[in-house]
């Protein structure tokens, strides 16, 4: 639902979508700005709070449902996309957004990510990527560089190549793929609005620094850059562009045309009629 700001109709404000719970995040965490972007996006779209469900898994970013004032389900590690799929498939009229981090989304929840992309349920997944497990005090995540040696669990570095979330999303068939940077909540909000409005499964990869365990990520401010092309509806073209990009390009890579998955059903028979089939 769109709410137009006119003289006599005052639309909802970002603050209307915030709860009064204080986030547990460390000072300087990128997720504060993402939260600001989320509530701005919700206000921009004028979402009815009671018709909106946010689902998360486990981890720092997965705490977001408690910080919003819509319906939320803070689930278990890695399962947010499956839980959210159940919400949207059962109640298609609800707005469904999912929040999580790189570990939740691509490691323990990797299989669900793959299948959420190919299933293409009409919902929006916002992944806050800081390339580290923050809540368990700084281990390598699936997006951490192979030679990052700061974790006690992998003192020689994880030794394996990081996943590229945007390329993965495209390869698995996501219908809308974008990347943002937490430092710019307005742009984050714009991407979320575009993603929610686009039919099908939208993946919004957001670089969101963990200054506690990855202080060097403060430099992302100067590393990120506009991706520089218009969104395409051709997954092949988007994939070529993503592979040419350095992983810090911001923008909408793909706004595709796949039909969302939403099985329809209408009651055509009574249970009594079905039971008759068992009678001898």
């Amino acid at each position: 639902m769109d709410t137009h700001l006119t003289d006599d109709v005052v639309g909802p404000l970002p603050g209307d979508y915030k709860s009064d719970v204080k986030p547990i995040w460390c000072p300087g965490c990128g997720d504060y700005s993402v939260l600001a972007g989320i509530t701005r996006a919700m206000a921009t779209m004028g979402l009815e709070r009671h018709d909106t469900v946010v689902v998360s898994g486990i981890g720092c970013s997965s705490r977001i449902p408690a910080y919003t004032s819509v319906y939320g389900y803070h689930t278990v590690h890695g399962r947010s996309l499956a839980v959210a799929s159940g919400v949207k498939l059962a109640r298609p009229e609800l707005n469904v957004l999912i929040f999580g981090g790189d570990g939740d989304g691509f490691s323990i929840g990797g299989n669900h990510f793959l299948h959420a992309c190919r299933r293409n349920v009409d919902m929006t997944y916002i992944v806050m990527d800081n390339q580290v497990y923050g809540m368990t005090k700084g281990q390598a995540s699936p997006t951490t560089e192979a030679d990052w040696c700061e974790s006690k669990l992998t003192p020689e570095g994880p030794g394996v190549n990081p996943i590229q979330p945007v390329a993965l999303a495209l390869a698995c068939g996501a219908n809308f793929v974008a990347r943002g940077f937490s430092n710019n909540p307005n742009e984050v909000a714009r991407l979320i609005v575009e993603g929610v409005r686009h039919p099908g499964f939208s993946v919004i990869h957001i670089l969101s620094p963990c200054v506690t365990f990855r202080p060097e990520q403060r430099n992302w401010k100067s590393t990120v850059h506009p991706y520089g092309r218009e969104p395409t509806d051709d997954p092949n073209e988007a994939m070529r562009a993503v592979l040419e990009d350095d992983g810090f390009g911001l923008g909408i890579f793909l706004a595709g045309n796949r039909r969302p998955f939403q099985p329809e059903s209408a009651a055509t028979r009574s249970i009594a009629q079905i039971e008759e089939g068992f009678a001898v």
């Binding site: 719970v21 939320g72 389900y73 803070h74 689930t75 278990v76 839980v83 959210a84 059962a90 249970i271």
Partner: protein
């Protein structure tokens, strides 16, 4: 002279049509008014390899497999050694064999069973389009005295679409087999059917569970196939759609249960079905359902375990994981149907209980019930529908408390779409207002509340099937109930009174109700199909059992037979 029950094995490698013939035999028996039970014996290879249709027919309801096979008809002997142990015979049994298939394997011949030759392949070969299984069906029908009209109706129903030639070929095959067997006089004619009485159904346990879900009000199912639970999902897929619900094939069991929780969180009663390995994968999310107080029903059709175990055979060894498998203190519902027909009632009841108490309910079915088909009196109908306590005063001044510490322990739920009820359901421990909390007082309060809502609820008489009287009692559950019931009735027929207590509500436990059911009992026999006596230990942990307690516990895959329970009871008297 007639018999009260006849047990038949139709044996042949995949493609011989043993299953089809068994199914037709059961259907034909149903048509003429008999009761029956058919289980399947197959290896894990699905197609090819050994296969047997195991059928028991009787004029009265059939509770379990027969003590031994009265008739074995073999279309071939391929791989029969692999499951010879599943085909108990005696010198009163009859083995019908095709001489062209070679001699009866020594492992079966050693029983001393009478052997009768029937040139099955030759007879089928004389008929254009003739099939060995129809010849076999004709022979068995003649032996047990099955009226031809019953078979005609089955043939018409099964082959009507294939046209007259197929029907004629089948009829000719049946005639040929029937004609040969007519003069054998084996003394295995079944007593006349009693056609009076209740409407009869032809249903499998898995279908009954699916129907129970529908009748309970389930509108969403997320599914991942696994033997022997798949038929529940396959039955639900079209039938949920016809009644306005949805079934989604998920990527794995983790997703199945998680999707169900999501659907249920949004207010839609949900179910999934699985078997042991899938239940293991689901346990984390079942715990989430407990903590977040989200109703969901999981039907676990048990098979031989541990690990991949014996997927196509039955056992009751998932009891421990169903009751104790969740981490933390996570009280939830566990129920077990006591028969094929009861899979309907118990699953429907589970939907009702899960919704009423806002918590997961595990239904412990098993392969022996799930994949067996029976002719039963129309199963009892639970008078229950999903009915979640919804919050009503969301417009008020006070902030909505999702996890309000009510006296009953059940907190009024708000679901998406209800203005004013916005909250975040959480698997993290939380305060009444649903916000995460690690405070001792909040933890204690919520643990107490989640236990209280289960223990203070009135479950009525459905907690167990209780019958009989006397000082000796069999306490059992699940598919061990059938043979236990038959054993108790045999004891009674011989003049010794006995009781049967088949516990349907496994958890939460009902100590006062069991004590009342066993009042005056001096000997208890616990019957279960596990290696580790899981049910006996469970009873020992939660109940006081009177008198001398004995245990009959053995693992699958061989079914527990009434004879075994009866002999154990006799040894206790």
């Amino acid at each position: 002279m007639t018999v009260d029950s006849v047990t038949i094995a139709l044996v042949g490698s995949g493609g011989a049509g043993a299953m089809t013939a068994g199914q037709m035999l059961l259907d034909a028996a149903a048509n003429v008014g008999w009761y029956g039970l058919m289980s399947r014996s197959t290896g894990p290879q699905i197609r090819g390899g050994e296969a047997a249709a195991l059928v028991r027919l009787s004029p009265t309801p059939v509770h379990g497999p027969g003590d031994r096979f009265d008739i074995i008809i073999a279309f071939d002997w391929q791989n029969v050694e692999r499951f010879a142990a599943e085909l108990p015979l005696s010198d009163k049994s009859v083995i019908i064999t095709d001489p062209s298939q070679g001699e009866v394997p020594a492992v079966l011949a050693a029983s001393g069973a009478k052997q009768v030759e029937l040139p099955i392949k030759e007879l089928a070969g004389r008929i254009p389009g003739g099939r060995v299984n129809m010849v076999g069906l004709g022979a068995v029908a003649a032996i047990v005295g099955l009226p031809r009209a019953g078979i005609d109706a089955v043939i018409q129903k099964a082959l009507g679409k294939k046209g007259d030639a197929a029907i004629q070929a089948s009829n000719a095959g049946i005639d040929a087999g029937s004609k040969e067997a007519a003069g054998w006089n084996l003394g295995l004619e079944l007593a006349a059917p009693n056609k009076e009485g209740a409407t009869r159904w032809n249903i499998s346990g898995n279908e009954a569970a699916g129907l129970g879900a529908l009748k309970g009000g389930v509108k969403f199912c997320a599914a991942y196939p696994i033997t022997p639970a798949t038929e529940i999902l396959e039955w639900l897929a079209p039938n949920l759609a016809k009644t306005g619900g949805k079934l989604v094939q998920a990527e794995d069991e983790l997703a199945s249960i998680a999707m169900c929780l999501g659907a249920s969180f949004s207010g839609v009663p949900s179910i999934t079905a699985t078997a042991g390995p899938g239940l293991s994968l689901m346990t984390e999310c079942i715990g989430l359902g407990v903590a977040s107080e989200t109703p969901v029903v999981i039907v676990d059709v048990q098979r031989g375990g541990p690990s991949t175990g014996i997927p196509t055979k039955s056992e009751q060894s998932d009891l421990n994981i169903a009751v104790y498998g969740l981490h933390g203190d996570a009280p939830h519902l566990v129920v077990g149907p006591t028969s094929i027909g009861d899979c309907l009632f118990t699953t429907q009841w589970a939907v009702h209980l899960a919704e009423a108490l806002q918590t997961p309910a595990i239904v412990l079915s098993d392969q022996a019930m799930g994949q067996s088909r029976a002719i039963v009196d129309k199963p009892a109908d639970a008078p229950h529908k999903a009915n979640r306590l919804l919050a009503t005063d969301l417009g008020g001044e006070g902030k909505y408390l999702r996890y309000a510490n009510t006296e009953s322990g059940v907190s009024p739920a708000a679901i998406p779409g209800m203005p004013g009820g916005e909250h975040t359901a959480d698997g993290l421990e939380h305060a009444e207002n649903a916000l995460p909390s690690s405070q001792a007082s909040d933890h204690q309060k919520q643990l107490d509340k989640r236990l209280r809502k289960l223990t203070s609820y009135d479950y009525g008489d459905a907690w167990a099937d209780v019958e009989g009287e006397g000082e000796i009692a069999v306490v059992t559950w699940g598919s061990a109930t059938g043979p236990s019931r038959e054993a108790v009735r045999r004891l009674e027929a011989a003049g010794t009174k006995a009781r049967l207590v088949a516990i349907r509500l496994i958890s939460p436990v009902q100590p006062a109700k069991l004590a009342a059911a066993l009042d005056g009992v001096s000997k208890v026999l616990v019957v279960e199909q596990t290696h580790g006596a899981q049910f006996h230990k469970f009873l020992r942990g939660h109940y006081d059992l009177p008198g001398k307690v004995s245990v009959f516990s053995r693992p699958g895959p061989l079914p527990i037979r009434a004879r075994e329970v009866h002999e154990t009871l006799l040894s206790l008297i």
